[in-house]
Every structure is written in structure tokens, then in C-alpha cells.
Symmetry: C2
Subunit: 248 residues, 2 copies
């Protein structure tokens, strides 16, 4: 969700208790915020690799060590980006979801707004993906640390389906949001590699695949498709059961 500054020990809400504060003083939350904003700006301007921790610190007017005091590593700055990106996405597609009942158009709106809101970070996202792709990294969308954002995003897909006029067969409806989230991840993966003008290819891909997905959902209640759907659903449940040998 929105960036919550974790360590607030002073207990003083901004502007609440102390008007007597010296002009130059900064609360911890403010410093943290300052560093984060600076980092995100530099990421946009220079890309992920082009931005150094030293650069962030210098630009924000704090020391290198101080930056590391608030963010354990360069990667941890990215978690903040995740949260913000999701918030922006949510804000951008909530209107469409309130006014639209057609499943295809709902799904289209959600996918398109995701790409639109992420656009300023296109280059950054490419390099970012580099570290996010490492399964061991807490930044992996599949990691335990990413669970909160992931749950929210999946929940959004549930809203897309449930708020639509389409009736989804019972056996499929439980799994569908997860599958749609996975689909959106795939779209993002494509987008990251998309250097076409205005990301035209990604939009084309979205238009076409949403079409196909909705058609498949409609076909899924057909007897002919039963074994196929059944097989796919069994797979997802089996994969969940074959879970990791030792708990992390």
C-alpha cells in the first residue's frame, strides 16, 4: 500500500505537538520520504543501474550511511516502488470498474491502465526486473515478502470477474483471479521487452489476448472443454500441494 514510515518513535504527528521545532530539523519520516522521492526520481531519470546510492544520498543532501539507515539496500527501495505502482494502478482503474459490467471491457481496462500508469518507469522496470527475477530475491513477485502486494493485485482480479455480468462455472471461479494475475504478470514481462513506439505491441497483445481469454472463459462450460478445464485446475491444486520441502 502507501508508504508507511515504519520507525516513528517520537509519537509526534506532523504538526501536532511541537511548533517549537527548529527550522532545519527534519523528522525521521520526512527524511525517509525525502530519500525515497529522490531515489524514485533518479530511477526515472537515469534508470536503476545508472542511479548510485551515493548519487541518491548526494541529491537528497544526506550521507550515504544515512540512506542505508532507512533502506537496508538498494533493492529495498524497489519495494516502495511496488506499493506505489499498485496504488496508482488502483486509482486509475477504479472508475472503469464502477461504470462497466462487461467482462471483456473490465479486463481490458485493468490491463491497459496497468501499463499506462507504469509507463514513466518503463526503462527502470526493465532493469528492475533484473533483480526481481532472482527467485531468492525478496523482490520476486513470488516471494513471501511480495505476498501483500500480490494478494491485493489478485483481489483486484477477483473484483474484475465478480463485478461483471459473466457467469463463471463454479469450479473455475476460485482459481480464475490467480490465473488472471499470472496473465497480467506475463503482460508486464512482455511490456518490459517491448521497445515498439508507444508500446504499441503491448497494447495489441492485451487487446487480442483479453479477447481470447474471455472467449475461453465462455467456452469453458462446454462439455467438450470439460476435461481440459478440469485438467488445468487439478494442476494448479497439485502444484500448491507439492509445496516446498522445508519452510522458509
Amino acid at each position: 500500500m502507501t508508504e508507511q514510515p515504519p520507525p516513528d518513535k517520537s509519537g509526534a504527528e506532523p504538526g501536532a505537538a511541537s511548533p517549537a521545532k527548529a527550522a532545519k530539523a527534519r523528522t525521521a519520516a520526512e527524511t525517509r520520504q525525502l530519500i525515497l522521492e529522490t531515489a524514485l526520481r533518479l530511477f526515472r531519470e537515469r534508470g536503476y543501474e545508472g542511479t548510485t546510492m551515493r548519487g541518491i544520498a548526494a541529491e537528497a543532501g544526506v550521507s550515504l550511511g544515512n540512506a542505508y539507515y532507512y533502506f537496508k539496500s538498494k533493492e529495498h527501495l524497489i519495494q516502495a516502488y511496488y506499493g506505489r505502482s499498485h496504488d496508482e494502478h488502483l486509482a486509475a482503474c477504479v472508475e472503469a470498474l464502477e461504470s462497466e459490467r462487461d467482462l471483456k471491457r473490465r479486463l481490458l481496462a485493468v490491463c491497459r491502465t496497468k501499463i499506462e500508469t507504469a509507463r514513466p518507469y518503463h526503462r527502470f522496470a526493465g532493469q528492475l526486473f533484473k533483480t526481481a527475477a532472482d527467485p531468492a530475491s525478496p523482490l520476486s513477485p513470488f516471494s513471501a515478502e511480495s505476498m501483500p502486494v500480490r494478494r491485493e493485485a489478485t483481489e483486484l482480479m477477483a473484483v474484475v470477474v465478480e463485478g461483471s455480468a459473466t457467469r463463471v462455472p463454479g469450479e473455475l471461479s476460485g482459481e480464475l483471479p490467480n490465473l488472471l494475475w499470472l496473465y497480467l504478470m506475463a503482460i508486464i514481462l512482455f511490456w518490459i521487452h517491448d521497445d515498439s513506439l508507444g508500446c504499441a505491441r503491448t497494447y495489441k497483445l492485451i487487446d487480442r489476448t483479453v479477447e481470447i481469454i474471455v472467449r475461453l472463459i465462455n467456452l469453458s462450460s462446454l462439455t467438450l472443454m470439460r476435461p481440459l478445464v478440469r485438467g488445468a485446475l487439478e494442476l494448479t491444486s497439485e502444484l500448491r500441494q507439492l509445496s516446498t520441502p522445508e519452510a522458509r
Copy 2:
């Protein structure tokens, strides 16, 4: 970390039984090979990040500078891994492809052997993927530099299909190898994240999805499925046309 004792300068190759060869002599190719083998071994033993260029040089008994003389960067060592990995895969599945006509079993064999041959490098592959995921990286499977390996792998999928007893509808047959290559990439992506015992989940995923894919191929000639297949194929061709604004 323990300090590595300085490289042995005595000149005696350990266990060098070669009669004529001057003890210290080594051809350029041999040195290159030595460095590469050492690197791949250390990658296996310590992972990608856990292996330092200094460590490779020390273990191979050459200087750091020499290692950089043969491999422009740490990443360039990876290209060598790609090539070798594909060769091993080819060798491992050629037998099955010669003796088996059933499409499902052919595809199964190819996917399974891919995972099996890559297994010693599981951890390495995860970290490796980190740099390969960057679209700008020459190591990306979609990059121009990776084209040769990619073409070979796609060609392998063409063999899988063409050597099978299954008749694929003409409009689909041209695109199918590309789609199957993409499918294998997805499997690998899953495998990288798979920490289940013996990668059981990956094998389960392969079994199930190959089943589904083959069933879809068989269904694809049905009139009912026509618009769906047609739509998907139009998409791939459109994506190719909307190519990059400037040639690389």
C-alpha cells in the same frame, strides 16, 4: 573466507604424464578452456554471485588479468554456458526423437531432458536469470546476440512436430515451433523458481501442460476453435510487423 595460497609457480603440472610437452607450456585454447571449466565448476559449487573473478583466476591458476583477457566480463562466461547447455540438451533428447512418433511423448521427452540436463545448474540458473532478464542485456533470450541459440532451439521444436504422427493444420504449423519454444521458456522460468524436492513441481507442470497443449493442437482443427486459432495467429503476425522503430 580463507586466503588462497598464491598460484603454484613451480611449473609442474599436477600429474602431468604428457611426455613431450614442456611442463609449463599451454596453448591459448587450453588456457581459455581451463578458465571456462573452472568458472562453470565454481558457478555450480558456489552460485553465480558467490563466484568472484578473482576466485576463478586463483582456482585456475592464472592471473585476474588473464581471465579478463579471454572473457571480456563475467557475463561473457555465461554465453559459453548457454551453448553448452543446448548441446547437452540436444544430445540427451536425440535418441527419444529418433525412436518415438507420438507427439505428446516427443514433446514430453524434449521438455524433461531440458530440465534434467540443466539440473546441476539449478541454483546458478536462478542467479544467472537475474542478468538474463534485463532486456538490454545481450544475455536475454530475446536479444540479437542470443539469436543463434534461439534459432537452434526453435528448430528443435520444429523437428518435434514434424517428426510426429500428428497432422497440424497448415495455418498453425508455421507458427507452432515458435510458440513451443516460448512454452519451453515459460517452463524454465517456472523451474528457476521451483524449490520443491527434485523439482517435482516442474515435472508435474510439464506433464500436465504438455497434455493440454497436445489436446489443444488436436482441437484446433475444429470449426468451433477456428476463430480462436485465427485470432491468435493474427496476433503473432501483427506483433512481428509492429517491430522496433529503429533497426538495431
